[in-house]
């Protein structure tokens, strides 16, 4: 299944590198990535492919949250269906 990762926070060196390394270490494939800076605010979206078990999902999501705390940004991972159902008929 696909999941969306959103990263929000003050821009600094190495945010993308750290998130990508975290995912690569766990053999998670990134399908799409886009990033902008709005008024000094770092804003990244990623679409990744994860396997379908809850434990796996929770482990990655928790890991990313913790990584975000270390870097000083907010990282959130969500199943893509929450967005699909809300914005697509």
């Amino acid at each position: 299944m696909k999941a969306i990762i959103t990263v929000l926070g003050t821009d600094k060196v190495g945010i993308i590198a750290k998130v990508c390394t975290y995912l690569a270490d766990r053999e998670i494939n990134i399908l799409d990535i886009s990033q902008t800076i709005i008024q000094g605010y770092f804003n990244m979206l990623m679409i990744i492919e994860v396997n379908d078990t809850m434990d796996h999902f929770a482990e990655i999501a928790d890991g990313l949250e913790k990584l975000g705390e270390e870097i000083g940004v907010v990282i959130k991972m969500q199943h893509e269906d929450i967005f699909n159902t809300m914005h697509r008929i």
Binding site: T6, A58, Q78, I82, M86, H87
Partner: protein
């Protein structure tokens, strides 16, 4: 392909506007637990509830984790105990309430509803026992919610039941007076009660329902308010369109959660309840929506029209977003659970009479209203009768959840804590209806109920 805007919009709704799924409520039938021995009956219902709902809380939390949307409450509703326990040889059902309480604590839900009786035409012996057990049952349990249906559009209003419920409410208040009369916050008197309501305190699992079912209540007053901020000063067409579009998105999130919960628990999906339900949190208030619409305070002239419009457009937007809509599906206006309503009451903008008018155009009646503790039982019955009449004549659900605060009067307030919030005590009309209530009997069904 999802756009950045859509992803950001959803996450803003969750983070900044308190979008959440208010409750996943599992309805469980207790019909197959009947036993003439009360102890055996209690054992059977405990076993059934704890087995069926064993994974309910964990599943709710898993879904919240995976989709990143809070699922605030996980709850259970059961077959009205007056029916399920009717076969028991017993003169009190307090032990049944205690069993429900234990089962709820075991599975980790925060409320269990269904200590209920449907007496809109009359009482069976089981109904009598249940009603007499209500005050004590609510005093000795923490999680159990009770409801009584005293009228329907098809059958009229059982005024004997209305009279009795006035007394029961006072008794429930008296028995919990050391805890802000909390017993009354867990007791609802209905007209036209629905069988698939996921919201407490009025939830019970109707007799026409499946053995086990998942009902979901969505919420999001904060999201509606935020959306309306974008159309400030524009006309009613724009206002209504904005509410509709927002309600659609909120309900879709609820539908997703409901389907996932149903799939993961292997329990059929019942309905989505489209009610806007406030919480005491800032930014999660129905009164704030009225202010955004252009009213100085909730209760100002225009409030009933604003509420009618809000309620109607939430439904119009929500109906298309879900395969089955049911439950109460209306805007809730519980005074103690909405900080904007509390402020309006304290400023004198919102009165009991205005609230009554508002209940004509939305569910679910006079909800979480604190009144002076010396209010006579007959006056409480009169308030119930008025609400029931509104429900009966307008073919809608109405309810009364009113708290006579023992030892306190107008100008003071009462704190319930948590989602139940706090409430300033509202003045009640001092003129008596004692002789009216004392008449007894039934009010016949209204003429327009004869539709066959």
């Amino acid at each position: 392909m999802l756009s950045r805007m859509e992803i950001v919009e959803t996450n803003k709704m969750i983070k900044e506007s308190n979008l959440d799924v208010r409750t996943i409520t599992m309805g469980i039938s207790l019909m197959d637990c009947a036993d003439s021995d009360l102890t055996k009956f209690n054992q059977k219902i405990y076993d059934k509830i704890t087995k069926k709902a064993e994974n309910l809380v964990k599943t709710g939390e898993d879904i919240a984790r995976q989709y990143g949307i809070p699922v605030v409450n996980k709850r259970i509703s059961v077959t009205p105990i007056s029916i399920a326990a009717a076969g028991c040889k017993a003169d009190s059902y307090v032990s049944v309430a205690e069993t429900l309480d234990r089962a709820a604590k075991e599975v980790g839900v925060n409320f269990i509803g269904g200590f209920s009786a449907l007496i809109h035409k009359g009482c069976t012996p089981g109904d009598e026992i249940l009603i007499n057990s209500i005050p004590e049952a609510l005093a000795v349990t923490d999680m159990v919610c009770s409801s009584v249906n005293v009228g329907t559009s098809r059958n009229g209003i059982n005024m004997n039941a209305v009279k009795r419920m006035g007394e029961i409410i006072l008794d429930a208040a008296e028995r919990t007076k050391d805890r802000s009369c909390i017993g009354c916050a867990k007791l609802v008197v209905f007209c036209n009660a629905v069988e698939d309501n996921p919201f407490m305190a009025g939830a019970f699992h109707g007799v026409g329902e499946k053995d086990c079912v998942i009902n979901v209540g969505v919420s999001g007053p904060g999201v509606v308010k935020r959306a309306l901020e974008q159309v400030r000063g524009e006309d009613f067409e724009t206002l209504c369109e904005t509410v509709k579009r927002t309600a659609f998105k909120i309900t879709r999130a609820g539908q997703l959660v409901a389907q996932e919960a149903s799939r993961r628990l292997d329990v059929p999906f019942g309905i989505i309840d489209l009610s806007l339900a406030p919480t005491p949190a800032i930014g999660d208030s129905i009164a704030e929506i009225f202010q955004e619409m252009g009213l100085e305070e909730a209760g100002a002239p225009g409030t009933t029209a604003a509420l009618a419009m809000l309620n109607d457009n939430v439904k119009k937007g929500g109906v298309m977003a879900s395969s089955y809509v049911g439950g109460l599906s209306g805007a809730f206006i519980p005074v103690s659970e909405d900080h904007g309503m509390i402020e309006a009451t304290e400023k004198g903008a919102l009165t009991l009479e205005k609230l009554e008018a508002m209940t004509c155009v939305c569910s679910v009646g006079l909800d979480m209203i604190a009144i002076p503790g010396d209010t006579p039982a007959s006056t409480i019955s009169g308030i119930i009768a008025d609400e029931a009449a509104i429900g009966m004549v307008n073919n809608k659900t109405t309810a009364v959840r009113i708290i006579p605060v023992i030892g306190k009067g107008v100008g003071e307030s009462v704190e319930f804590g948590g989602l139940l919030g706090y409430a300033p005590i509202m003045p009640v009309n001092k003129f008596s209806c004692e002789k009216f209530i004392a008449r007894g009997g039934r009010i016949p069904a209204p003429i327009h109920s004869f539709k066959n």
